[in-house]
Amino acid sequence: MPAPLLTLAAIRKRYGSTEALRGADFSLAHGEIHALLGENGAGKSTLMKIAFGLVQPDGGRILVDGAEVTIRNPLAARRLGIGMVHQHFMDIPVFTVAENIALAAGWPPGGRGLRDRVRRLAEEAGLPLDPDALAGELSAGLRQRLEVLKALAGEARILLLDEPTSVLPPSEADTFLGLVQRLRDRGVATILITHKLQEALAVADRITVLRAGVVVRTSAAGAERADTLATAMLGSAPGRPAGRIRAAAGDVVIGVYDLVIPAATGGGTGVRSASFQIRAGEVVGLAAVEGNGQRELLRALAGLVPPTHGTIQVTGPVSFIPEDRTSEGQVGEFSLTENLVLSQGRAAPWVRRGWLDWAAARRRAGELLERFDIRAPDPDVAAKLLSGGNQQRQIIANAMERRPRVLLAENPGRGLDLRATMEVYDRLRHAAADGAAVLVHLPDLDDLLEVADRILVLAGGELIPMPEGAPRDLIGRAMLGTSVVAAAG
């Protein structure tokens, strides 16, 4: 038996206090499609970044054709015949297909020679694409095809695909997977990173499941079933019950009926159908894999994007904590006082007929510093000079200052250390205890179960309410869409 094309042996990688990879073993045989499955944070992307030279491992060995190699950077990876397609489009929209490929492959730009070369590449790969089309004008499916051609342009024998279908609508996703199979017939071995079980089962020859930084299972795809894979991904540890003692639920303050919201730019499914109610005093967790409509749903509830269909009934005031602190949650150049004034708008006590009483606003900002334990010398300091945790405390303070009846939080622990994250979760629970309805999305299911009284799952844009106390693996399966498959047969 020949040596595997690519072997990653006992790879270790640590980021700060978290161990992303704890001795992961993975091998890719000649001419196979090998799916790499795992939950968010299981280490799939890190492993692939190591194989492509974007990240250096702390330990372990990499072998190509049985010979040990060091992959210092993506250029070195390309020389070894490794090409990668990233999760997001990496083309230059105003360049043509040919120019984008030339840029990626280091080919001399311009002229007939380049066009012919690109046309030949596309034909050999079985991925026809007009060399003169502008990248920005291609459909998502064709843009993804361009990404693959860019990866292949350096004579790649190994193709790393990082969630390649997450940016595609379903019909184009099927076409794309067909192309990957055609590439296999032409001798290109592919590693397909995905969290979609169906995708892996449909196109892969072998499937490896990664959980918490170690490989828990590698097997032939034909021997696998969706439910066994899901169990492997989620772990067999008994899920903590989601239920907990809580304040008596009050009035319905969020009512959503037959909601449809188009996908935000950048892909994903949008919301295809959602109906639910949330009562005052509840903390409801919104569980979803990236790009399954959670962003759109929260923003529609916050009044930031209009739905195309359906009704939203929300009792105000509504406060929204966006995922990206620095780009949406605050104006970094503004002082804490100014961010407070911005967030409270016209209804604040320091606004009288459109005129501002800065002294009053500054006094209040000073009080919030103490109440929310924001470590800043005074309210005049620019928000961007604070640490991430203190910025988030400030954003939460501003959100709570509106005395919200509805609090929407989009991954509010992002980029925070454990202590700060726990504090944020605590604030959310306090808000509910004070009578707000809280809807929170967190990428980590365990964290979500810790915070939330009950769970709503968004999978493929469909909202599935989970019964109270639903076990972790049931929720995990719903997120992966397997419960739907089971129902369909």
């Binding site: 780009s327 949406e328 949650g329 459109g354």
Partner: protein, 354 residues
């Protein structure tokens, strides 16, 4: 900042502009010496032309400052909202055309009514001229930097056509309009060329300063300029509205400048009415770091340089364009000294007061 600016803050805010002007003058001196002009007599002539006599101040410096301040105020507002209006020159001409047209028809009106009407006509025309780029930007995403700039050429061509066509003087000899009737002229200080437009400009500067410093809308406008996404998500404002409004108002300011120039200084429309007020106005706003009261000061400074340039050419034989070197060096110094300005092309808002 919520508190009144302290002297220390004021000093910090003034440090860079003062330094920039010093460097600009130093470059002028070196350039003069290198070109064989004795620097001291040239500088003396510059001083005389700008501040040397009461007449220089009242008839050269101050009248020249009026359009610069008005245009600078509008540009300052637009830049604060992130709207890069490079089209003040065109909006100035649009205002001048409208003011001339309206002014020529109002000879029988009482002055107290005719003059405000002329000025408002200028505002409206400047606003309309800016409405095109505003609409293009908000509806179709056309960058206002380009559309405002290109409309300058259209406006200049329009003036040329006007003074050779519909608005040409009665004898159809010269490419200029008839002089405005007295009723349509801004009152002048007797014995000088200084007109009431200065008071209008100062009042508007004060109003803009209060708007930015004390009103919620002025504050939200600044948030839109700094971070439109956060202004929308956290502040609940609609950034495109503020953006468009700021662009329109800055057009109205430039249009007002054109009207006041016709109604207060030249009393007629002709080609090259503006010696580049619309572009110097950008420099005026940037040097003041977009602060309305600072714009009054920098408007006076640039007006002084340009007024002095004439005297320098007359008395010392130095080409008047030499002062544009000073203006250019001042802007470059400001842009280099301000990291935020380097990134965006615009000076950061003045921390000493909004």
């Amino acid at each position: 900042m919520p508190r009144d600016p302290t002297l220390r803050r004021l000093g910090q805010a003034l440090r860079t502009p003062v330094l920039a002007v010093m460097i600009g003058l130093a470059v002028l001196v070196i350039g003069l010496a290198a070109a064989g002009y004795p620097p001291l007599p040239a500088l003396a002539a510059l001083w005389r032309g700008a501040l040397g006599t009461p007449d220089a101040v009242l008839s050269a410096l101050l009248p020249r400052a009026i359009p610069l301040i008005l245009i600078g105020l509008g540009i300052g507002l637009a830049f604060r909202a992130g709207a890069f209006n490079i089209g003040a020159e065109g909006q100035f001409y649009a205002g001048a055309i409208a003011a001339t047209w309206v002014g020529l028809t109002l000879g029988a009106w009482p002055r107290l009514v005719a003059v405000p009407t002329v000025l408002l006509a200028g505002c409206a025309a400047g606003l309309a001229w800016a409405a095109v780029p505003a609409l293009l930007r908000v509806r179709f995403g056309v960058l206002e930097v380009i559309s405002t700039l290109l409309l300058n050429f259209v406006a200049e061509a329009l003036v040329s056509w006007m003074v050779l066509g519909p608005l040409q003087e009665s004898k159809h000899t010269y490419p200029q309009s008839d002089p405005l009737p007295l009723a349509a002229r801004l009152p002048q200080l007797p014995g000088s060329r200084l007109h009431l437009g200065l008071a209008v400009a100062l009042c508007l500067a004060l109003a803009l300063w209060l708007f930015g410093r004390r009103t919620l809308a002025g504050f939200q406008l600044r948030a839109v300029g700094l971070n439109p996404a956060a202004a929308r998500v956290m502040g609940g404002v609609r950034p495109e509205r503020f953006f468009a409004a700021a662009l329109l108002i800055s057009g109205a300011f430039a249009g007002l400048a054109g009207a006041s120039e016709v109604s207060g200084t030249t009393f007629a429309l002709f080609q090259n009415l503006s010696p580049g007020f619309g572009f110097t106005g950008i420099a005026v706003a940037l040097l003041a770091r977009l602060h309305p009261l600072g714009i009054v000061a920098t408007g006076l400074l640039f007006a002084g340089l340009e007024a002095g340039a004439g005297a320098m050419q007359r008395d010392a034989g130095v080409p008047a364009v030499a002062v544009y070197v000073v203006e250019a060096v001042v802007i470059l110094t400001i842009v280099l000294a301000d990291p935020a300005a380097r990134r965006t092309g615009v000076a950061a808002p003045n921390p000493a007061g909004r």
